[in-house]
């Protein structure tokens, strides 16, 4: 939805590509997005796991008819879009923060420490956008759904299995509230015992630092930062997190940041709207008790 919002800058007609197996429902949902012309549906059994080779091939086949190819900056598109760009012999602009006229963009480089303003000379603009920087469009549209002919399977790789984290919590990427724990939680048990009650109260997703993940306190999938997930919730609470560059990268666009750390000089406080110097093992349970929302 935010990608569609970002695409409106070009003032052209907008089509949406949907690839998969049994995707009628998704296509109908997409057809309601405001300002969209057509939904190009590529539905086939061999597309059920969206292997990069096959999806990029589809984008390559249809891409020449477009001036701009845009997707949100997720693992899914990061896997596929560069391949499609290379097939089209154009460069790609990753994780765009701002789009200006004349194909001028702002994106972050050097681990988020430098913003670069650049202009693309390519005939087709291929980019992923940092979703939280763009407004989502509404759902009052009525786009045409077009069943497209699917190219044959390339059979270069095959899907085996997947492991999705099962949780009743909102997914990390679009949660309104995220609370993240660091290495200082000390063990997997304590990570859960300390963070879960507060997360439940706040209906928050739980994130972790790489140090917490490496120590085995939390699963890979919830790592926030440069190597993990980039989040931008309304409220981000960093608990026992030092504030390493690579972690900041993943949360600095949050609307309100709270840090709880027992070291008054911890870097994380420089990025926090509200800092509380306290022992997390006391402050977090207290917070869980005092928060009124249920």
């Amino acid at each position: 939805m935010n990608a569609v919002g970002s695409a409106q800058i070009w003032n052209g007609s907008i089509d949406i590509l949907i690839v998969g197996e049994g995707i009628d429902e998704a296509a109908i949902h997409a057809s309601k997005l405001d300002g969209v012309d057509k939904i190009l549906k590529f539905d086939a059994p061999h597309l059920n796991h969206s292997l990069a080779e096959d999806v990029a091939n589809i984008i390559f086949k249809i891409g020449k008819e477009y001036n701009v190819i845009i997707a949100p900056h997720t693992w899914f598109s990061r896997n596929i879009l560069p391949r499609a760009a290379a097939l089209l012999d154009v460069s790609m602009i990753s994780d765009v923060l701002e789009i200006n006229e004349d194909n001028i963009y702002i994106r972050s480089t050097y681990a988020g420490n430098v913003h670069a303003k650049l202009k693309s000379d390519d005939p087709i603009q291929v980019l992923t956008v940092h979703s939280s920087k763009f407004n989502a469009v509404g759902l009052n549209g009525n786009a045409k759904i077009i069943d497209s002919k699917v190219p044959e399977a390339l059979n270069l790789s095959r899907w085996e299995k997947e492991k999705k984290i099962e949780s009743d919590r909102p997914p990390l990427i679009n949660a309104k509230v995220v609370i993240s724990g660091g290495r200082s939680l000390g063990s997997a048990e304590q990570f859960n015992e300390v963070l879960t009650p507060l997360a439940d109260k706040l209906e928050a997703a739980i994130g972790a630092t790489r140090a917490a993940v490496d120590a085995g306190y939390a699963p890979n999938e919830i790592q926030v930062g440069q190597t993990g997930v980039v989040v931008a919730p309304d409220l981000y609470i960093a608990i026992g997190v030092s504030g390493a560059n690579q972690h900041i990268y993943g949360m600095k666009d949050s609307r309100v940041v709270v840090a709880i750390n027992n070291d008054p000089d911890a870097t994380i406080f420089k990025f926090a709207d509200y800092g509380l110097v306290a022992d997390l093992f006391e402050a977090v349970p207290e917070m869980a008790t005092l928060v009124s929302k249920t």
Partner: protein, 250 residues
């Protein structure tokens, strides 16, 4: 099996790079440089596959100025067999790097091509996928585990909200995540030995590929810092402050 590893020389991950005062470019003067961390995982994985008997030869390649010799030597010291430097004075963009690597792949004919999932300077995360596209071969990005069974390559990789396992046909392009392994420390004698090994050097112009920049940097700047926040004295005050923020429901 033969393995090619792409190794980029970038700033040390602890260093906060800043723009030059005129905003024309980043200031790398005196900045500590080294092997891109994800490429270190790629090198380590190649060496492990060789140690486990799956690989026969590991070739390392870097594209950059003559300064990139140091990262190639580092890879030799870790256990890479042979290295190639494709000398280019300009910093090449991912599409150009992918085109250069394609030439190297055509010459070396590796079965596995390992890259990092992201270079710390470009923050692009594109080169591996682009190379796989140019080669029309299989790809598996953001790999946290790589195994070889019966000539097939099994990869666990990162997807939104979890991981998936896929199997790719060789030749295949894989990009390494930090979780793939723990890169080994280089022992000083190995580094001394690596100094004596030859580096095959190719001029990028001799490869006959279009390496021109398609993306032109207009200026660079430091991101606006977050507004300096305040310290609260206790949990009660914190919750009060949060409750006062419009639109934030606590």
């Amino acid at each position: 099996m033969k393995i090619l590893v792409a190794i980029k020389r970038v700033q040390d991950y602890n260093i906060k790079v800043r723009p030059k005062s005129d905003g024309s470019d980043v200031d790398l003067e005196g900045v500590k440089m080294g092997v891109n961390p994800f490429d270190e995982n790629a090198i380590e994985e190649a060496i492990r596959l060789k140690e486990e008997g799956f690989a026969s030869e590991i070739v390392g390649v870097s594209i950059g100025s003559s300064l990139s010799q140091d990262v190639l030597r580092q890879s030799l010291a870790m256990g890479v067999d042979r290295v190639i430097l494709v000398e280019a004075e300009e910093v090449l963009q991912p599409l150009a790097v992918a085109k250069v690597l394609k030439k190297v792949v055509e010459k070396e004919k590796p079965d596995l091509i390992l890259l990092g999932k992201l270079a710390l300077d470009s923050d692009a995360g594109q080169t591996g996928q682009m190379l796989a596209g140019l080669l029309n071969c299989s790809q598996a990005t953001f790999a946290s585990s790589i195994e070889i069974k019966d000539g097939e390559v099994f990869i666990t990789r990162e997807v939104d909200g979890g991981t998936e396992s896929i199997v790719t046909k060789t030749p295949t392009v894989l990009t390494a995540d930090l979780r793939l392994n723990e890169p080994r420390f280089v022992k000083l004698p190995n580094l001394m030995m690596a100094r004596k090994k030859p580096i095959e050097t190719i001029k990028v112009d001799d490869l006959g590929v279009d390496v021109s920049s398609r993306l032109n940097t207009i200026s660079v700047s430091e991101p606006l810092p977050r507004k300096e926040g305040i310290k609260v004295k206790d949990v009660k005050e914190l919750l009060q402050k949060l409750n006062d923020i419009e639109g934030l429901k606590i």
